[in-house]
């Protein structure tokens, strides 16, 4: 989607819009946590906090990859099925140990990412369509490899530690995601790669004329997204003890929403790694809060009302950040 399509606002206003959105997501997250802490017993209990972190680390990883792709003005619809495919590969390799399983998953993600990147940069296919086919191919490959069934991981090796284990009292997957976000933050702010991604997303033509290796940068964002999705797949396999070829449905939309709620523009060129994480936690906590709400027994929200509530919640977050942006733009 080209820069001109999103809205008629001048670029200055759009930047402050993104900035305001970033403040808002952190405030919204804090409010949601406060709400949960005050309303529900055990909400901030160690068990709940740690299991929420353990579970959402997968989405944190796919969203991080997505964040870079979107900052480069692309999109990656394949993250969910790539994770599923990678979970199958790593489950199949898990009997050989932790590292073979890990590398297998990463390799699978890398392969899908490379195919996506190739389609986008070499074949000139629009990212939405390119990664849509990547999504179908990854899903099909996973199912073929797994013969349509979940693949058991080996409990004999320490592979499952990657998903079920702890390190210093914290879930291993949460450590992995945290490390990835530290890397992401450094890469965005202190490595040429991150700056090139922003430049390419901000004005691809200018970046090309400035002599930046545009295609290589775009290619790498897709590869990186694939690798992070692969890592999420490894955690998926390790955490649930099985490679699951049919998992990952809707992960891409979750990730896109998290990235956007985190104040990264879908048109590219502006973004933040830290608030993407806030976006992930915000959207992830919504599920948790809804579960707790049902547990109160006052009202039993059916799954259907939950979808409506989630949709409305996303709408409110988006609206709030847009309203805040307008106020900021006026006072500036």
């Amino acid at each position: 989607m080209s820069a001109a399509t999103a809205n008629a606002a001048p670029p200055g206003r759009r930047l402050s819009l993104a900035w305001a959105a970033r403040q808002r997501v952190v405030i919204a997250l804090v409010l949601l946590i406060l709400f949960g802490a005050l309303r529900y017993e055990h909400f901030l209990g160690a068990y709940n906090v740690l299991s929420v972190l353990r579970y959402n680390s997968m989405f944190a990883l796919t969203s991080l990859g997505m964040c870079f792709v979107i900052m480069g003005a692309g999109i990656d619809l394949s993250v969910g099925t790539t994770a599923a495919f990678a979970s199958v590969v790593s489950a199949l390799l898990s009997p050989y140990g932790l590292f073979p399983g890990l590398l297998g998953g990463l390799g699978a993600g890398l392969a899908v990412g490379a195919v996506n990147g190739f389609m986008v940069t070499r074949m000139n296919i629009q990212p939405f369509i390119a990664t849509l086919s990547g999504m179908l191919v990854a899903s099909g490959s996973g199912l073929l490899l797994a013969h349509n069934q979940s693949v058991s991981v080996s409990y004999d090796t320490d592979f499952t530690w990657l998903g079920q284990g702890d390190l210093l009292g914290f879930p291993t997957p949460a450590w992995i995601a945290a490390a990835a976000y530290v890397y992401g933050s450094v890469a965005l702010n202190f490595l040429s790669f991150g700056r090139y991604v922003l430049a390419v997303g901000g004005n691809e033509e200018a970046a090309r004329l400035m002599g930046l290796p545009v295609d290589r940068v775009k290619f790498l964002t897709y590869v990186q997204s694939g690798v992070f999705a692969g890592l999420a797949g490894v955690i998926l396999a390790a955490q649930f003890g099985a490679g699951q070829p049919a998992e990952g449905v809707g992960w891409e939309l979750f990730s896109i929403a998290a990235v956007v709620v985190g104040g990264t523009l879908l048109t590219g060129g502006v973004g933040s790694v830290a608030t993407t994480l806030a976006g992930v936690l915000l959207l992830g906590l919504i599920f948790n809060v809804l579960n707790f709400e049902n547990g109160l027994g006052w009202i039993s929200l059916s799954a259907y009302w939950q979808s409506v509530v989630r949709g409305v919640f996303l709408m409110v977050v988006v609206m709030a950040s847009s309203g805040a942006a307008r106020r900021v733009a006026r006072s500036a």
Binding site: M1, S2, A4, T5, A6, N7, A8, A9, L17, I75, M119, M123, N124, I125, Q126, F128, I129, A130, L132, S133, G134, M135, L136, V137, S139, G140, S141, G142, L143, L144, N148, E205, R208, L253, I256, A257, V260, L265, L266, T267, S302, A303, Y304, W305, Q306, S307, V308, V309, R310, G311, V312, L314, M315, V318, M319, S322, G323
Partner: protein, 330 residues
């Protein structure tokens, strides 16, 4: 800007290869037809045509609206959910006590109201996107999530089974032997193609997609054009929802239109409409949808396993869009 090497490309003389590359989807469609005539058992029959056309109709109907949305540089993820809402509403209307006591009125209302309401939700998408300057993917993602929930809440998730020949004419009826939904599909394609080509609204859609700020400064009512485009997409989805439930004699808000957004978007892309907006071909979307449908038919009829079919489908979509890309003059 980076233009393909132009060495050796002849401007004037007719280049057969270039022609086929330009019309890649059509070419692929023809090739696939030839393949099927040769390989697939029992392919050469009217019933095959009938099966394919009736199956593709809903995707095409949705693609028509989607093409217009994409022409403005937007995208509509909510179409499947709007199909579910419309599909849920129709039987609720004619099965209600009102609908049962006044069948004629109930049936008429069952056609009009769900489509109109889907259109209203589409209008809401457009309003949300223009009023809050939300990127279309996110703007329609809201309705993608909430819309199906609304459909499910309306029916409490229950499946509504019915038998109502009048209403089901839209999915099962035939006019001069042509299935009703095929006629609707062709009419919508023709209307949308004509709208894009010859009407003020059509030109405004393309100018908004081509350069929104320039269009606005030239007096094009950008926000209203966008709202209408999403409303039309909602209307198309509403019609498609009616077609689906009437063929099945049942409405299941959980499943009606599930995954339709990606099918429709793929059809539009394979048909040659770029996502950047400003250019669009509705007939292309029809061809794109037919191609995807025929691929699915071919794989199913030849017993290709479902998992492998996913891989093939992905490859075909990418391949078709790719050759389209190459055939385009720089």
């Amino acid at each position: 800007m980076a233009d393909a090497p132009t060495i050796g490309r002849k401007g004037a003389s007719f280049d057969v290869a270039a022609f086929f590359r330009r019309y890649a989807a059509l070419t692929a469609l023809i090739v696939l037809l030839a393949f099927n005539f040769a390989v697939t058992p029992n392919f050469a029959s009217w019933q095959t045509l009938n099966v394919n056309l009736t199956q593709v109709a809903t995707i095409v109907i949705v693609s028509v609206g989607m093409t217009l949305v994409i022409a403005t540089g937007g995208i509509d993820l909510s179409v499947g959910s709007l199909m579910a809402i419309s599909g849920a509403l129709a039987p609720m209307i004619f099965l209600s006590s009102f609908g049962l006591s006044y069948p004629a009125l109930g049936n008429a209302l069952a056609f009009v109201a769900p489509v109109a309401i889907a259109g209203m939700f589409g209008l809401f998408n457009g309003w949300f996107i223009t009023r809050f300057r939300v990127q279309p993917i996110v703007g329609t993602l809201v309705m993608f999530i909430a819309g199906r929930g609304i459909g499910q809440v309306l029916t409490n998730g229950n499946l509504q089974a019915f038998k109502n020949p009048t209403f089901q004419f839209i999915g099962l009826g035939r006019v001069f032997g042509v299935p009703c939904q095929v006629i609707i599909m062709l009419a919508l394609v023709a209307a949308a193609a004509w709208t894009l080509r010859s009407t003020l609204f059509g030109r405004q859609i393309l100018s908004v997609g081509g350069n929104e700020r320039a269009a606005w400064l030239s007096g094009v009512p950008v926000a209203s054009v966008k709202r209408w485009v999403y409303a039309i997409s909602g209307l198309c989805a509403g019609i498609a929802g009616l077609v689906v439930v009437s063929i099945n004699s049942s409405s299941d808000a959980n499943l009606v239109g599930l995954g339709m957004e990606l099918d429709a978007i793929a059809a539009v892309a394979v048909g040659g409409t770029p996502f950047t907006g400003g250019q669009a071909t509705v007939v292309g979307s029809l061809i794109g949808a037919l191609l995807i449908q025929l691929v699915r038919y071919t794989l199913l009829a030849n017993g290709v396993p479902d998992a492998a079919a996913l891989v093939v489908k992905g490859a075909i979509i990418a391949g078709a869009v790719w050759s389209q890309q190459r055939g385009k003059p720089t």
